[in-house]
């Protein structure tokens, strides 16, 4: 069961990761429709998922939150968002949703809530994100949020039987502020 609400969007909340969420995270990290586009290429058992939650406690440089749907009852976890290396000039963000929740704009909404939190709470210059070039869904989320395509690393990762390009995206603070005004 996900923990307390940390930030709210219109339809999704970002909630803290609790020990009993290991089973949910393990499902996401192993599902090939999530793991392959995310670049996770090793299996994770439940005790590893548990250990990774515990390793994360007290870590002030990385933020991990569960994306949840709220319908009045218990929250339903549908994915995860992360912010990595908050001490860097441009921390990196990452996200995944279970396949059955793709295509409803939940990824864009959850990532937007995370981006707003990152710029509002931390004195960062910008944010960055990377994705495999064939991963249209992920790139779409970044472009919806105003991220600029900053380059393509050719054949940079071996994934699903072949070398694939990695695309890099960046969003600077003033670009995020301008987008906020437009909303």
């Amino acid at each position: 069961m996900p923990g307390a609400v940390f930030r709210r969007g219109d339809r999704v909340t970002l909630r803290t990761v609790e020990h009993e969420d290991a089973e949910f995270l393990q499902r996401g990290h192993n599902d090939p429709d999530v793991a392959v586009p995310l670049g996770v290429n090793m299996p994770e058992n439940e005790s590893e998922a548990q250990a990774s939650i515990e390793d994360h406690e007290g870590d002030n440089l990385n933020v991990s939150l569960l994306v949840c749907l709220e319908d009045g009852g218990d929250p339903t976890p549908i994915g995860q968002v992360y912010l990595m290396d908050l001490h860097h000039t441009r921390p990196e963000l990452s996200y995944w949703l279970l396949p059955e929740y793709h295509g409803n704009g939940y990824g864009t909404e959850a990532t937007e809530v995370l981006v707003d939190y990152a710029f509002n709470a931390h004195e960062i210059r910008g944010l960055q994100a990377q994705a495999f070039a064939p991963n249209d869904g992920s790139v779409g989320v970044l472009e919806n949020l105003g991220f600029e395509h900053e380059g393509t690393l050719r054949d940079a990762r071996f994934r699903d039987g072949e070398y694939v390009d990695v695309v890099w995206y960046g969003l600077l603070r003033e670009e995020w502020e301008d987008a906020e005004v437009d909303d």
Binding site: R125, G151, T152, L153, R154, A156, R157, F158, W168, G170
Partner: protein
């Protein structure tokens, strides 16, 4: 003092980094003519430098070479003080992955004479011959025209520019990322493999 020879070029040799080279490597994060360009901007102590050699230069995922100018009769094995002069260093992280990342520097006294290009060319040859990696990456800040020119002259392609991704010397700087694929390197540097007797 650098260790045994790994590779020899026309003017530069690559030798192993030894723990006693901490004093030489210490310059890379203290000397302002090196540290801003390298992005290793926090001057540490010599003890931290020694710890860094043990913790990451000696780890399996890192290849590290000292660029040296050898005297005529320098031994391939462990040299003495007057046999060789270290002039720079090149490291490649993630040699156990798909795409190692290069970082390199040369002491300022040897800039502008082609030693840096020779060091990087020799090291990339060595990496492609030693590890079954598909390509190699390197980065340079926007203001580092010498390093960007060096990479371009060796056939690297600029693949990404991360805008204002690092705070260096009082301002936000762009990080330019370069890459070269094995097939491109082999085509451009014909016969890069050494003669094996």
């Amino acid at each position: 003092m650098p260790g045994p020879l790994v590779e020899a070029g026309d003017r530069v040799t690559l030798r192993t980094v030894e723990r006693e080279d901490a004093e030489f490597l210490h310059r890379s994060n203290t000397d302002p003519r090196i540290r801003w360009y390298l992005g290793s901007i926090y001057p540490g102590s010599r003890a931290e430098e020694e710890e860094g050699i043990e913790r990451w230069i000696e780890s399996d995922s890192v290849a590290a070479y000292l660029a040296c100018i050898d005297s005529e009769d320098a031994p391939a094995g462990h040299p003495d003080d007057d046999d060789t002069t270290p002039i720079g260093c090149l490291t490649a992280r993630h040699v156990d992955g798909d795409r190692p990342w290069l970082a390199y520097w040369l002491v300022p006294e040897y800039h502008g004479e082609g030693y840096g290009t020779e060091m990087v060319r020799l090291a990339v040859d060595t990496i492609f011959r030693t590890y079954s990696v598909h390509g190699v990456s390197a980065g340079a800040y926007g203001f580092n025209e010498a390093s960007r020119g060096l990479l371009e002259s060796l056939g690297f392609t600029e693949e990404a520019r991360r805008r204002e991704a690092r705070f260096i010397d009082g301002e936000y700087c762009d990080e330019h990322q370069y890459g070269v694929l094995r097939a491109e390197w082999e085509a451009e540097h014909d016969g890069f493999r050494s003669e094996r007797a």
